[in-house]
Symmetry: C2
Subunit: 226 residues, 2 copies
């Protein structure tokens, strides 16, 4: 195994699974469970036990034969890998339906994310707060970002506006952009862009449903039990 495609020192696929692990082990901690086996966790999350063990190996966690892994140790290690144990300030640009929903999402606290400020073109929104976050006019984007020292941006503007706004974010010193616009952003390589395009998920689901329909219904009326 070469594993030369890493984020820091972790395979990207492992990083993608960390949130599910974290949710599960936090819940176990809440329930007072102190240890958990790769088997149990895999069953809960729909993963092979060996996958779980490999992933935990990558994040430097080692378990105990017979008993399993320490729940508390897992929580701390995963939070550390993702830096979800400290707060990261972010700005949100584009207070439409989706932007508003994200501003109202209470789960970000558990992910170490705090949206400090939002921006929108609509002058009626500027000066208001949405779900407790102050909204500023687009004109003050650069100075406000620099003043607050925010390094991460959540981009929820209309796709047409995305390239231009992204340019402005890049020039304002933003290091990472969480891109919900579906429009590909071509930016300098030192700016990290994470695309969160709802259409790719819908595409996979559409294709699977269509494949199913095309195949007729070669399945039993009732499938496997849960």
């Amino acid at each position: 195994m070469a594993y030369g495609y890493l984020i820091g020192s972790l395979p990207i696929t492992t990083v993608q699974r960390l949130p599910s692990y974290l949710r599960a082990v936090r819940e176990m901690r809440r329930q007072g469970r102190e240890v958990v086996s790769s088997n149990r966790l895999g069953e809960l999350l729909g993963l092979e036990p060996v996958q779980v063990r490999k992933d935990f190996g990558f994040i430097g966690i080692t378990g105990m034969p017979k008993s399993g892994y320490q729940v508390e140790e897992l929580v701390l290690a995963i939070e550390h890998c993702l830096c979800w144990n400290q707060v990261r300030d972010a700005a949100l640009v584009g207070v439409g339906h989706l932007g508003t929903a994200l501003l109202g999402y209470r789960g970000f606290a558990a992910h170490g994310l705090a949206i400090r400020v939002a921006f929108d073109l609509d002058p009626a929104l500027a000066g208001q707060t949405v779900h407790g976050t102050p909204v500023h006019p687009m004109a003050s984007l650069e100075p406000e970002l620099r003043r607050l020292g925010v390094r991460m941006a959540i981009l929820t503007v209309a796709p047409e506006a995305a390239p231009e706004v992204a340019q402005r974010l890049a020039r304002a010193g933003i290091e990472g952009i969480w891109n919900f616009t579906g429009c590909p952003l071509l930016l300098p390589r030192d700016i990290i862009v994470q695309d969160q395009d709802i259409a790719t998920g819908l595409a996979v689901l559409s294709a699977k449903l269509s494949a199913l329909a095309r195949a007729g219904q070669p399945r039993l009326p009732e499938g496997d039990p849960v």
Copy 2:
């Protein structure tokens, strides 16, 4: 190349890229461009040209040496693969911030998706419409779904409620669930679940930003031009 991991007859990674291709070629059609090369498309979307050619090969599109691919042919072929040229009815369950945002999203029409009905626990919402979609009480979930013959559900309830609601959807004859709850759904295998967990994207971005920070800033103050 074995390629035995297919949706219908397409690699899943290819399906995931189809929406970006589609957006790009639709835009080109709008501009009156009739042909496009894999090179140009790759540049626009940040992909290797050979990747584009392989993908088009999979969906059965063949281009012309020297000139490239027919834009119109690409649009039709991709829409066909995803069944985005016909309307698929869906129900949305959970009219919170995110559910409301999805009900207000106008882009679904271009993806062949029509949300016909929504459901929510809150009795104050039942009987109302949200962005034009009627909201029903949870109690009428099963009969209403069967009456409308809806086969796809968008799940935007709170994570705690997800497993139970998913069970009800499964029993009501739903074939595919687009799962925004972040909670893993363990359902019979004949029900297709597409997880759309915002946390995995945030995890990747967090890990990359942290890796960057840890590495110091071993880059030039200004990166490559666009």
